[in-house]
Amino acid sequence: MNDNVLIKVEGLKKHYKGGAIKALDGIDMEIRQGEVVVIIGPSGSGKSTFLRSLNLLEYPTEGHIYIDGADITNPKVNLNRHRQKMGMVFQHFNLFPHMTILGNMTLAPIKLLKMPKKEAEQMAMELLERVGLGDRAAAYPGQLSGGQKQRIAIVRALCMKPEVLLFDEPTSALDPEMVGEVLDVMKELAKDGMTMVVVTHEMGFAREVGSRVVFMADGMVVEENDPQTLFTNPQSPRLQDFLAKVL
């Protein structure tokens, strides 16, 4: 693995109600190119807030986030330009219901990257074939199952050729039998060397695919390690307690 730091987080804090609620309470992290960082933790631990802070869907109260060396918390930095490089996959898919699958995928590349329509559609079709949905290009999101929607959401993000993909509990809204097909796509991506930050409750995925697992609680990083060590030899009582409940 190379040492190319893609995302650097320094002292990230997110407070609500003037500090009465501390969703994030001082987080430092470095994410290198090609890493798959899996964030686990009990609900309310701030893991989703942290992930959403990485592309400023949440505005931190304090701290800095550097993407490719640029501090995106600085108001003078072009945030939209940086967001283009960070794909995001949501728990509830958030496909655009008024557009076809192909329309969903090609909208941003055509409008933002100024890609010719033909080229964008060809790229989208190739990606659709890769996730086994080549025959649904003309369908509307309302006609698809949850698992299919989430696979589309992943390839929609890929159409922008992002440097990193952020996953916010991508399988939590799915019926159990559809979780596998989405995780398979994510594993495939990890194998291809995509940098990923994944918030999930899928411990199997964390153990198998993660290059690093981060355990968060009360808005802080309590423990982080390679998955093997973290799952078999947890140090902090909080993590031991958490693993005892979920494994």
């Binding site: 869907l57 283009q84 960070m86 898919f93």
Partner: protein, 255 residues
């Protein structure tokens, strides 16, 4: 049977003769139908231009209100100057909504006619302004409701792809909003059309006033008033049919 039918025929004949005479008196004599024709013309002019003004105002006000609500935090964090400007604009919009929706349209029309535009003699223009400004408040709330009803995830998906707030609105949110607000917007246009019937308060000869003038001349209330009601009804039915057609066409793109 035969006698009954003869009686009916005589009665119906008399009734029909009576009807013809009243019709002649109210609409044909002295070309009185022209009161209705010119009145309808004024009513339609006022409605169409007031609706256009109302939609324009409504879009502006709804844009300011939702842009402020959706971006309050990011503006405060990233652009203090813009935040202050938008906060002032938002407050102005709120005052406009409160005043317009809190006072009767007739009073607003009279204020426009006798105070604000007292020096103007173009009464149709005055009516367009008064009804347009009034309608704008309701249209603004229709659009705002439409925008707020779109799941926040749609905004987040657009922003996370790298679209600015306005391009997210343009490409992703507004196309969904238009479909949702069309029925409410039609409702507002129908309400507006009927509200213009109070234009006679400031001596504008709209359709209602036209019928009223005929009644004053002929001393017969039934024929002119029913005719006025009928004309309003026909316009509304045609309008509803048209929008239904547009709605069906929009629905085709859904699935």
């Amino acid at each position: 049977m035969g006698a009954w039918f003869e009686g009916f025929k005589a009665n119906a004949g008399a009734w029909f003769e009576d009807f013809k005479a009243t019709f002649q008196l109210n609409f044909i004599d002295d070309d009185r139908y022209m009161y209705l024709v010119n009145g309808l013309k004024n009513t339609l002019i006022i409605t169409v231009f007031a609706a256009l003004l109302g939609i324009a105002l409504g879009i502006i006000v709804a844009s300011v209100r939702t842009t402020f609500d959706k971006n309050e935090e990011s503006m405060r964090m990233r652009n203090k100057g813009l935040y202050i400007v938008m906060k002032i604009a938002n407050t102005v919009c709120k005052v406009y909504l409160t005043v317009i929706r809190g006072t009767p349209v007739v009073v607003q029309l009279m204020i426009m006619y006798f105070i604000i535009m007292a020096s103007s003699t173009n009464s149709v223009l005055i009516a367009v302004l008064a009804f347009g400004i009034n309608s704008g408040a309701y249209v603004a709330e229709i659009f705002r409701g439409g925008i707020m009803s779109i799941d926040n995830g749609q905004f987040e998906a657009g922003r996370s792809l790298g679209f600015s707030y306005f391009r997210t609105m343009y490409h992703i949110v507004v196309p969904q909003v238009i479909k949702n607000v069309l029925p409410a917007l039609l409702n507002e246009c129908i309400a507006l059309l009927k509200e213009t019937s109070v234009a006679g308060y400031v001596s504008i000869q709209d359709l209602t006033k036209g019928g009223d003038i005929i009644r004053g001349r002929t001393y017969s209330a039934f024929m002119p008033l029913i005719m006025v009601a009928l004309i309003y009804l026909i316009v509304v039915v045609v309008l509803t049919w048209l929008v239904g057609k547009v709605e069906r066409r929009l629905k085709v793109s859904e699935r």
